[in-house]
């Protein structure tokens, strides 16, 4: 299988605190990769490095075919990123947000118009096209920001807790969008605190105190830890944390 993320011995230190302690893992093209861990385990630090927003202390990393030390701009052009919140401009309309982000990624006006229309139709947001994003309920905003994060058809999209606080029906519609994108060959790299969502991933890694303590399919992890569900797996692993507050 083709690898779209290759991480070898990633270390990130902040002074003498080791946030990422020798991480090694690969992510395959088209897979949904769940990146789990307790608060403070080092997920955000690693994700920022993979998105070329921060430099590692040491290690070899390749994202979307590019080197994180020397080809940061190439990486940024080939990935999508959706932060937990506020990733859209609230004082722009739905259509303006799409236009703005697509423009940043250098899409032509003709393509922007075409993709914007498809996207608005797919999300059933035709009536909301000219409404300010601030007037949309959270769930709609999250679906819109995901669709915008993949408007330039990136190889990989990074999602940082995309469904936190979203109502249960919309949360599932959001996962429908994730499945569709993965079916189109976009690799999904996602963090979440909802353990039922960990079950939807092809593979899941679980970080504890800066290290990856487990990485496998949800099915194998449940077998390995003799657990009913992913919640149990997570609790067994996270309880090992030494950084207990």
């Amino acid at each position: 299988m083709e690898k779209v993320i290759i991480v070898k011995n990633l270390v990130k230190k902040f002074e003498d605190f080791v946030a990422n302690d020798n991480l090694t893992f690969d992510v395959y093209k088209g897979e949904i990769f769940g990146f789990l861990g307790a608060n403070g385990a080092g997920k955000t630090t690693a994700m920022k490095i993979l998105c070329a927003l921060s430099q590692p202390t040491s290690g070899e990393l390749n994202v979307a075919g590019f080197d994180v030390y020397t080809q940061q701009d190439k990486i940024k052009a080939n990935i999508g990123y959706m932060s937990q919140r506020f990733s859209l401009y609230e004082d722009l309309t739905v259509f303006e947000n799409i236009q703005f982000y697509a423009g940043i990624y250098g899409l032509s006006n003709k393509i922007i118009k075409e993709r914007a229309e498809n996207l608005i139709k797919k999300l059933e947001m035709v009536e909301m096209k000219n409404k300010l994003v601030s007037s949309l309920p959270l769930g709609w905003r999250q679906k819109l920001s995901f669709s915008i994060a993949i408007i330039h058809k990136p190889q990989i999209v990074f999602l940082d807790e995309p469904t936190g606080g979203v109502d249960p029906i919309t949360r599932r519609q959001f996962w429908d969008l994730i499945y569709d994108a993965a079916n189109d060959g976009i690799t999904i790299f996602v963090t979440t605190h909802y353990m039922d969502e960990a079950e939807y991933c092809n593979r899941v890694s679980i970080m504890v105190d800066g290290r990856i303590e487990a990485l496998d399919t949800p099915q194998n992890l449940k077998k390995q830890f003799n657990a009913e569900d992913m919640n149990e797996v997570f609790i067994q692993l996270a309880r090992k944390s030494k950084n207990k507050e």
């Binding site: 861990g37 307790a38 608060n39 403070g40 309920p137 959270l138 769930g139 807790e161 936190g164 606080g165 979203v166 109502d167 249960p168 029906i169 919309t170 599932r172 996962w175 429908d176 499945y179 079916n183 605190h193 353990m195 039922d196 969502e197 960990a198 079950e199 939807y200 949800p218 569900d229 992913m230 919640n231 997570f234 609790i235 996270a238 309880r239 944390s241 507050e245």
Partner: protein, 304 residues
């Protein structure tokens, strides 16, 4: 203990409806959960209860004090932990706690037993500025500060949002302990799985209450047969179930799909036959007891 009658609250001159005609009553010593997604109106309701927001109409009384007229009394008997971290970031852990104690005319020493279990966990960091604490520690400090004047009722706005599964579990253990001290607790959460830890819950969406009862009774209100289904191809399973003749709902639930039919007579055999015809293998079907999340989605759907 708490009586909420016909509370309505709108914003932007009535354009945004935050709460519509809310009625609730909460008994002394109850651990009561307000369960609903972002934007449901949970924070508005809690701010009204703590006298920080005035409703458009309706009455709220806590121990017979009116939240509008008797706001000074209300503030003495309530402890409030807002969803957003609201302690003084440039004061240390210890300074924050002393400050809140003195504002309420008491001392940390006087009510220490109440917060001891929680506070000992952050005591090693008592000289650290509150702004420099990790999320979990901030949460413990905020809870300590909300408790330091020994309130009759504790109001906690989404204390576990964005908190990992292990810390969430520990937080609920702390709440159980406080309940055993006789404190009435009102807590809101977007996590449906936390509902079963409450004595009673209200499910809220779009400013309206969908249902109020003990978690078990809410589950009994679910009036359809619920099936958990799994096959070797879950993506295809979802697509195919959407074509099932009497489909009511099909939602992904972790490793299975939860399925309900409009037809009361639909049974496992009929579903199995349908899936076999659609070339599914390793078919697993089981009738199950619904969770609060199933109920929430069913009630929310009927509301629309």
């Amino acid at each position: 203990m708490v009586k909420i009658e016909n509370i309505t609250k709108t914003y932007e001159k009535g354009k945004v409806k935050a709460l519509t005609n809310i009625n609730l009553s909460i008994e002394k010593g109850e651990l009561f959960g307000l369960i609903g997604p972002d934007g449901a109106g949970k924070t508005s309701l809690f701010r009204i209860l703590t006298s920080l927001l005035i409703p458009d109409s309706g009455i709220v009384k806590i121990m017979n004090f009116d939240v509008v007229k008797d706001y000074k009394e209300i503030r003495k008997i309530t402890g409030y932990m807002p969803g957003k971290f609201s302690l003084y970031q440039d004061l240390s852990v210890e300074e924050n706690l002393n400050f809140f104690a003195s504002v309420f005319g008491t001392t940390v020493k006087e009510n220490y037993s109440l917060i001891e279990d929680i506070y000992v966990q952050i005591e090693p960091f008592k000289k650290r500025l509150a702004g420099k604490l990790s999320g979990g520690m901030k949460q413990k400090l905020a809870l300590s500060c909300a408790l330091i004047h020994k309130p009759e009722i504790l109001v906690l706005d989404e204390p576990t949002t964005g908190v990992d599964a292990v810390s969430r579990k520990e937080f609920w253990e702390m709440l159980k302990k406080l309940k055993s001290e006789g404190i009435t607790i009102l807590v809101s959460t977007p996590y449906m799985d936390e509902a079963s830890l409450c004595d009673r819950i209200a499910l809220i969406q779009n400013g309206e209450i969908l249902s109020v009862d003990k978690p078990l009774n809410i589950i009994n209100q679910f009036n359809k047969k619920l099936f958990a289904i799994r096959t070797s191809n879950m993506y295809q399973l979802m697509q195919d179930l959407k074509q099932f003749g009497s489909l009511n709902t099909a939602f992904l639930f972790g490793q299975v799909v939860h399925f309900t039919s409009k037809n009361k007579n639909t049974n496992s055999e009929e579903i199995r036959f349908f899936l076999k015809e659609n070339n599914h293998s390793d078919i697993f079907i089981k009738e199950i007891v619904p969770s609060i999340e199933d109920c929430f989605m069913e009630f929310a759907k009927n509301e629309k």
